[in-house]
């Protein structure tokens, strides 16, 4: 009897397992076409990038395309490349300041807009303008503002008798000039995200804090901001990744100069690929940049505990 029961259970388990396998196979078959398309569209260029980074590919010499004799040559050159190291440092500074300022200003404006006053509501749309402008237009606007000959700001400074340095050609101010323009362009995105999150904060939480005697700033810092921590994380991460892609402002305003003061890593990769045709070397730079971005994103997520929140 015992033998019969156990064999029946085994048979049931086997049938369940078989059904699970069949279901899994069916799901895989259903997903296969979509996964194949995704592989081609997303992964193939990345694989091509990584493969190219192992070759000394230069456009002037087609035989370098499949030359894998020294696969780590580009990476060895990078390790010894002072200009590359400098570009990483410039990138780190740019990302730190732009993300920090965009979050701070975005939160500030979102809190103001959340007050629901008539005036604030009326100007809300105006704040979104920089974000919807094409990046090249933003770069042109700031190029005009930073060029003393044609800048209304510099005319005003001159009229007031102030001597203001030319920001984009000053080694001390060029990066700040990029940070200012980038912050102006993108703080509305963080503002919009934070504003949307603020509108989901339950009134009872705020009321409870008030009843407990919390002041406005205490409510903001101890109740509201922790509540929208997830949104702040996403906003910060989006901006961090985007800051690593900063290009039009640098291309148009400073071209990486003066010297290499504003030469970020992707601009350096662009120069190597499109001005000098070193596609292999440029691919290696890009691979390192992708890795740095992935590691940074992972670190930020881990350190802030995003994804573990209820």
């Amino acid at each position: 009897m015992t033998v019969t029961l156990s064999s029946a259970r085994r048979a049931l388990r086997w049938r369940d397992a078989s059904l699970t396998r069949q279901r899994r196979r069916f799901l895989v078959l259903c997903l296969a076409p979509a996964l194949a398309v995704l592989m081609v569209v997303t992964l193939a260029p990345i694989v091509s990038l990584v493969v190219t980074s192992f070759t000394p590919l230069t456009l002037t010499n087609p035989t370098t395309a499949w030359n894998f004799r020294e696969p780590l040559l580009n990476y060895r050159l990078l390790a010894a490349d002072e200009r590359f190291r400098n570009s990483l440092w410039v990138q780190a500074q740019l990302s730190f300041w732009t993300v920090g300022l965009q979050l701070a200003i975005g939160i500030g404006f979102a809190l103001l807009l959340n007050l629901r006053s008539g005036l604030v509501q009326a100007v809300r749309t105006a704040f979104l303008v920089p974000m919807v402008l094409p990046p090249i237009v933003v770069a042109i606007i700031w190029k005009v503002l930073y060029t003393p000959d044609i800048s209304p700001a510099y005319w005003l400074f001159k009229a007031l008798g102030w001597s203001v340095p030319v920001l984009i050609t000053s080694p001390h101010w060029a990066l700040a000039a990029i940070v200012i323009a980038d912050t102006w362009e993108w703080f509305p995105l963080t503002m919009l995200m934070v504003l949307a999150a603020l509108q989901t904060v339950p009134e009872e939480l705020i009321d409870a804090a008030r009843i407990d005697g919390a002041r406005a700033w205490q409510t903001t810092f101890y109740v509201v901001l922790p509540y929208i921590r997830g949104t702040l994380m996403v906003a910060g991460l989006f901006r961090l990744i985007d800051s690593i892609k900063a290009f039009p402002l640098i291309y148009l305003l400073t071209a990486g100069g003066p010297g290499s003061v504003t030469e970020v890593t992707n601009y350096y990769a662009f120069e190597q690929a499109f001005n000098f045709s070193y596609l292999g070397f440029s691919s290696a730079i890009t691979v390192v940049l992708v890795l740095v971005t992935l590691i940074l994103s992972w670190l930020v997520v881990r350190l802030t505990g995003w994804g573990t929140l209820e």
Partner: protein, 450 residues
């Protein structure tokens, strides 16, 4: 009367169709003699040059004459070079006529990306003798030939460098003349800088074009013996001295923000009378006397690039029309080049638009050219020809057409910028530029001698 109709037979339909097809094809066959390429459309690409602005007005004439349609893409200089580099490297057939940019000539011709035009010029059926390829100034053509002497492009623009003083009157008021040496240039700058709110000097930020004439004037060079020996010579004491001199010229006598100036900004600083002197290709000097918006038409003066203790080496950048290797319409493309660079067309561009950067000697020495380039009473045509003659076989400009020049030029730009903004001393900045240049040259597979 009953009308009798015969039913159309298959034969009558076929013969009617054949007759119709002959009639449709008739205009090119029966009309006046057009090019054998009639009905073809050629695509061209160029960066923004006055030459194209003028020439495109005559495209309908060419289309009428040959039956070849022309479509041109015009882009900004850096964008054009990047796109064309990629296009040529893939052997693409998107374009049939292109500008072979001066600093890319060594690279594009050396890599075999451009068509040898001798096959057209040496065939009387393709090119009549009076087209006369030998009429193009040899120094201008030198960089568009390979080691065997084959020609891959014909000069569209010879950007011969001259000195332009937008406010020559301020210099005269100070009791001075246009500077002819580098020392005199500094003296003149010192005397006129800031007078009537005018900066004494202006320049665009393409330092690797603007600086070498002064570097060579002091006895230095970019490479040891281009194109044979590409050892960079940027870490020499004379290079440091020349770089410091040039950075001082920019920062002491230039307007605020000069380091970010584009070509257009530098030109406008002169046109509006906010800056005085500049050395650059003749194309940038002509508008000072001829542009309707110029405020300096009656005060502009022209001279040679100030010489250094070792001589004068005015820059000459020669861009030419060529045909990409991948073009499938090379014959039609040559018809276009032949027409655009004929003596007749160039003379018309000179007469009707005052085009100054002609590369044909017969046109440069003609009366219309002299008339067009008599600017504010000065014979600028003579200065232009003097620079081209001085170029000789183009030896001193060879540094610019070696395949690795874009990389080395970039290192120079960054060094001058770093020196001008006092981020580094001239010696340190050029030592860094030298290291970058050596790395780029070795990476490109060239040997250096030290």
């Amino acid at each position: 009367m009953a009308e009798t109709r015969t039913k159309p037979t298959r034969r009558s339909i076929l013969s009617g169709a054949a007759g119709g097809a002959v009639l449709l094809a008739a205009p090119p066959i029966l009309g006046k003699a057009k090019s054998p390429y009639a009905g073809t459309t050629i695509r061209g690409a160029a960066f923004s040059l006055p030459f194209h602005q003028y020439l495109r007005q005559y495209f309908p004439e060419f289309e009428e004459k040959t039956g070849i349609k022309v479509a041109f893409d015009i882009e900004a200089f850096p964008v054009y070079n990047q796109r064309m580099d990629l296009e040529l490297s893939t052997g693409g057939s998107s374009y049939d006529v292109i500008i072979v940019t001066f600093i890319y000539q060594g690279r594009w011709i050396g890599a075999g990306w451009v068509t040898d035009l001798d096959r057209f010029t040496k065939n009387p059926e393709d090119t009549p003798p009076d087209w006369d390829p030998a009429d193009f100034i040899p120094g201008v053509e030198a960089s568009m030939r390979d080691a065997k002497g084959h020609t891959y492009a014909y000069g569209v623009e010879a950007g011969a460098m001259l000195l332009y003083a937008a406010r020559g009157d301020l210099i005269e008021k100070a009791g001075l003349a246009l500077p002819t040496t580098m020392d005199e240039l500094i003296r003149v700058c010192e005397a006129v800088n800031g007078k009537e709110g005018v900066a004494a000097w202006t320049a665009d930020s393409l330092h690797h074009w603007n600086w070498p004439p002064y570097l060579m004037g002091m006895g230095g060079g970019i490479f040891k013996d281009p194109p044979k020996d590409l050892t960079p010579m940027l870490d020499t004491p004379v290079a440091a001295q020349a770089a410091e001199w040039y950075a001082n010229l920019l920062m002491t006598y230039g307007p605020p923000g000069i380091l970010s100036y584009t070509d257009d900004q530098a030109l406008h600083s002169q046109l509006s009378g906010r800056a005085n002197m500049r050395t650059n290709a003749i194309t940038w000097g002509l508008p000072l006397a001829k542009n309707p918006s110029s405020t300096v038409k009656h005060t502009v003066r022209y001279g040679m690039v100030p010489a250094g203790p070792k001589g004068d080496f005015p820059g000459v950048a020669c861009h030419g029309f060529g045909i990409p290797k991948g073009s499938r319409k090379k014959g039609a493309a040559w018809e276009f080049i032949k027409w655009a660079l004929s003596k007749e067309m160039l003379t018309r561009l000179v007469k009707e638009h005052g085009y100054p950067s002609v590369c044909r000697r017969s046109v440069i020495e003609s009366e219309p050219f002299k008339q067009a380039l008599t600017l504010n009473g000065q014979d600028v045509a003579a200065l232009y020809l003097k620079v081209l003659d001085q170029l000789g076989d183009g030896a001193y400009m060879r540094y610019r057409t070696v395949p690795v020049f874009p990389e080395v030029g970039d290192a120079i730009n960054r060094a001058i910028s770093a020196i001008a903004t006092k981020q580094m001393t001239a010696t340190a900045a050029l030592k860094q530029a030298q290291a970058q240049a050596v790395e780029a040259i070795e990476m490109a597979g060239y040997k250096i001698s030290r």
